[in-house]
C-alpha cells in the first residue's frame, strides 16, 4: 500500500510540475478567498451565545456553536460568494453527546480501576482507557470530516467526504506506532499521511482535493523552527508558524473534472503572524478574555484575505454530486460524532 502511495505521490508531483509549466504559458488565474466578518458583529453573537449557554447551564452550547459556525461560514467568501454552514444545533448536540458519552465511558472504566484498589484490575482498566482513547481519535476525525464537509456548501454545491473509516484506522495506527518507534521523528510523515487521508477524500461537487505536502519538508520546517526559535529566543516562532501555515494550506490542490487544477496559496508573512499574535494576546488580556471573538475574526481576516486559489479554477463548472446528507447513510454511530474542538 505504501508503494502505491509513493507512486501516486510522485505521479502527482510530476503532474503538478507539468501543470505549472502549462499554466505559466497561459495567464495564471487567481480566485480570491475573503473574510467579510466584523469583530463587533461576531462579538455580539458570541455574547448572546455565552449568555444563553450560562443560563441553560451549558445545554445551549451546541446551538451556540452552530450559530457561530454559520456566521463564520457566511462571512467567508470564495470568488465573491459566501460559504453556507448547514449544521444545526440539534445535530451538533447529538454529535456532542456521542463524543462526550464515549469519553465519560472511558473515564468510568478508569475510575472503576482506581476505586478497585487492585493493581491488576487497575492495569487492565488503564490499558482499556489508553486503547479506547487511541481507538476513538480516528472515529472522531472521520466523523468530523464527514459531518463538516456534508454540511458545507458554496453556490449550492455541497462538499463531501469519501474516506473509509478502516483506511483512517490503518493510517492512524500505523503512523502512531511508527512515530513511537522512531521517537517522534516519523511524526512529520504521520501528520502528512493523516492530512492526505483527510483531504484527498474531500469532494467539492465534481471537483476533488489533493494534499501534496511531503513529510520530509514538514520535518525540515520543524527542525529549522525548533533550532532557530531557540537561537532567536522565540522570535522565530512567528516565522515557524507562518511556515507551518504555508505548508498546510499551500499544498492543497483542487482538481476539476476536465483535468484543470488550481492550488491554494497563502501569502501571510511571519511579520503578519507576529502582529496578529501580539494583538490577539493584548486583546485577550485587556478584555479579561471577553474579546476572544475579536481574535477569531482577526485571525480569519488575516488568513482568508491573504489566501487565493491560483490556477484554472472554474467557479461555474462545479456540479452537485453529494447525496442528501439527511438520508439514512448518515445515521450510523460514527457519523456526526463531533467532539467540537475545532
Amino acid at each position: 500500500m505504501h508503494g502505491l502511495c509513493y507512486f501516486f505521490q510522485s505521479f502527482l508531483t510530476y503532474f503538478q510540475a507539468f501543470m505549472t509549466t502549462t499554466l505559466l504559458e497561459k495567464e495564471k488565474q487567481t480566485t480570491h478567498f475573503s473574510f467579510t466578518g466584523r469583530g463587533s458583529e461576531y462579538f455580539a453573537i458570541e455574547i448572546v451565545n455565552l449568555l444563553l449557554t450560562v443560563f441553560t447551564l451549558g445545554l445551549y452550547y451546541p446551538w451556540a456553536k452552530a450559530k457561530s459556525m454559520q456566521y463564520l461560514y457566511r462571512k467567508t467568501e470564495l470568488a465573491g460568494t459566501p460559504f453556507v454552514f448547514h449544521g444545526t444545533g440539534k445535530e451538533m448536540f447529538i454529535g456532542f453527546i456521542k463524543g462526550v458519552g464515549a469519553f465519560i465511558l472511558l473515564y468510568a472504566v478508569l475510575m472503576y480501576g482506581v476505586i478497585s484498589e487492585d493493581l491488576s484490575t487497575l492495569l487492565i482498566t488503564y490499558a482499556v482507557f489508553i486503547l479506547g482513547f487511541l481507538a476513538l481519535i480516528p472515529v472522531a476525525l472521520h466523523g468530523m470530516m464527514r459531518y463538516r464537509t456534508s454540511r458545507t456548501s458554496w453556490r449550492g454545491i455541497h462538499l463531501g467526504y469519501r474516506g473509509e473509516l478502516s483506511d483512517m484506522y490503518s493510517t492512524y495506527l500505523i503512523g502512531f506506532f511508527l512515530t513511537i518507534l522512531t521517537f517522534g521523528i516519523y511524526g512529520s510523515w504521520f501528520v502528512v499521511k493523516l492530512r492526505k487521508q483527510m483531504i484527498d477524500n474531500v469532494r467539492f461537487g465534481n471537483a476533488s482535493l489533493r494534499y501534496v505536502g511531503d513529510g520530509g519538508d514538514l520535518f525540515l520546517i520543524h527542525l529549522k523552527g525548533y533550532f532557530l526559535s531557540i537561537f532567536t529566543l522565540g522570535i522565530y516562532l512567528f516565522w515557524y508558524t507562518k511556515n507551518l501555515l504555508h505548508f498546510y494550506v499551500n499544498n492543497i490542490v483542487v482538481l476539476q473534472e476536465d483535468g484543470s487544477y488550481s492550488r491554494l496559496q497563502c501569502d501571510v508573512s511571519g511579520w503578519d503572524v507576529l502582529k496578529l499574535t501580539v494583538g490577539n494576546i493584548l486583546i485577550v488580556v485587556f478584555t479579561l478574555g471577553l474579546g476572544i471573538p475579536l481574535t477569531t475574526t482577526r485571525t480569519m481576516s488575516l488568513i482568508m484575505n491573504n489566501t487565493v486559489m491560483r490556477g484554472d479554477f472554474d467557479a461555474d463548472a462545479l456540479v452537485q454530486t453529494e447525496e442528501a446528507y439527511d438520508s439514512a447513510t448518515y445515521e450510523s454511530m460514527t457519523d456526526m460524532m463531533d467532539i467540537g474542538v475545532i
Binding site: T36, S40, E41, F43, A44, I45, I47, V48, L50, L51, V54, K67, Q70, Y71, R74, K75, T81, P82, V84, S153, W154, R155, G156, I157, H158, G205, L288, L290, A315, D316, A317, L318, V319, Q320, E322, A324, Y325, D326
Partner: protein, 356 residues
Amino acid sequence: MTFEGKYYNGQSSKGMPAHIALLPDGLRIDYCADEACGSVHWELAGIHQSEFNDATTLLRFGKFPQQSISVVDKGFKEALQQQYRGAAFLKSGYNSVLNLGFSGIALMALGLLGLLVAFVIWGVPALADRVAMHFPQSYERTLGEQLYTKMLQGYQVNEEKTAALNDYLHALDTDLDYPITAAVVSSEEVNAFAIPGGYVVVYEGILDKMEHHEELAALMGHELAHIQNRHSLRAMARSLSYYMLASVLFGDVSGVAAVLVDNASALRNLEYSRSLELEADREGLELLRRNELNQQGIVLLMERLHMGSEYEMLAFVSTHPNTGDRIKVLNELIGERNQPYKKNPELQRHWEKLTR
C-alpha cells in the same frame, strides 16, 4: 418590484442572472443562462432562515439540494422586510441583537461581565455553602476523625486533662447535633481549634492563661459553634470551589486533588472569615446563658488573650478578628440581655482537675 441577482439551481455552481419579483405568496425567479431560460416560484414557507446578511442577501429554498439566490442590493433586504414582515425566514434573534448597534452590544458585554463577577463573588460561595451544608454528617464525622487522629500524632496528649475536659463538656448543656470528642495537648501555645464532625483540640497554654471555668465554657462554646455550623467545612468548600473554577478556566484538573490535600493538612490555619468568628463568639455567649453561667466569662477570655504576650497570642489571634472589636460586640450583647448567674459546682470540680 423586481430585483436583479444570481440564481443557483442546486445542481450547478453556475450563477444564472435572474430577475426576482416579490409576490404576496412568495418569490418568483426568472433566470436566463446560455439561452436556456426558466422560472421558479418559491413559497414563503420553504425559504430557509436567512441571517447575517450584509450588502449581499442570500436566500435558500427547499430540500436538498437547495436552490439559492444572491442579491447585491441593499434595497432588496429592505423590500423583503416590508413585504414579508414577520415571515419565519426573516426572523432571527441574533439579527435583532446585531441591530442594537455599538452601545447596545457594549451594554450586553458589560452586563455579562457584571454577571460573571457576581457569580464569582456571590454565586460560587453560596453554592459551596449549600454543598457543605448538605454534606452527610456520617461522612463529615469520618473525615473529622481521620484529621483528628492525624493532628494528634504531632502532639503529646495529656490523658488526665483530656478526661477532665471531656467530663466538663458532658456536664455542659451544649445542644449539639454532634457527639463531642476533645483532647488537651501539651503545648505552650495559646490555641484551640475545632475539627469538623465534633472534635476539639485544646492546648495547655490556653488553659494556663485562664482563671475561671466560665472562660473555658466560653471557649468551648466558641469552638463548638464552629462545629455545629460547619464553619471549616464551609470554608474548605469555598476555597475548593474557587480552585475548581480556576482549574476549569485554566484546564488544570490535577490541581483539585492537590487542594484537597493542602486543605486537610492546613486546616488549623484556615482563615475563618470575621463573620464566622463573630457568629462563634455569639454562640459561645449563648452557651454561657443556657448554662446560667457568668456571661462575663467570654469577655474575660477575650481580655486574657488580648493581654497575653504578642508572640504567644499570635496563633489564636492571627486567624481571628480584632479582639477589641470582639469585646465591644460581646459587651453590647450582654448589655441587651443580662441575666442572673449561678455557681455550678460540677463544672467547677472538672475545671479544678484541668488546672491542676
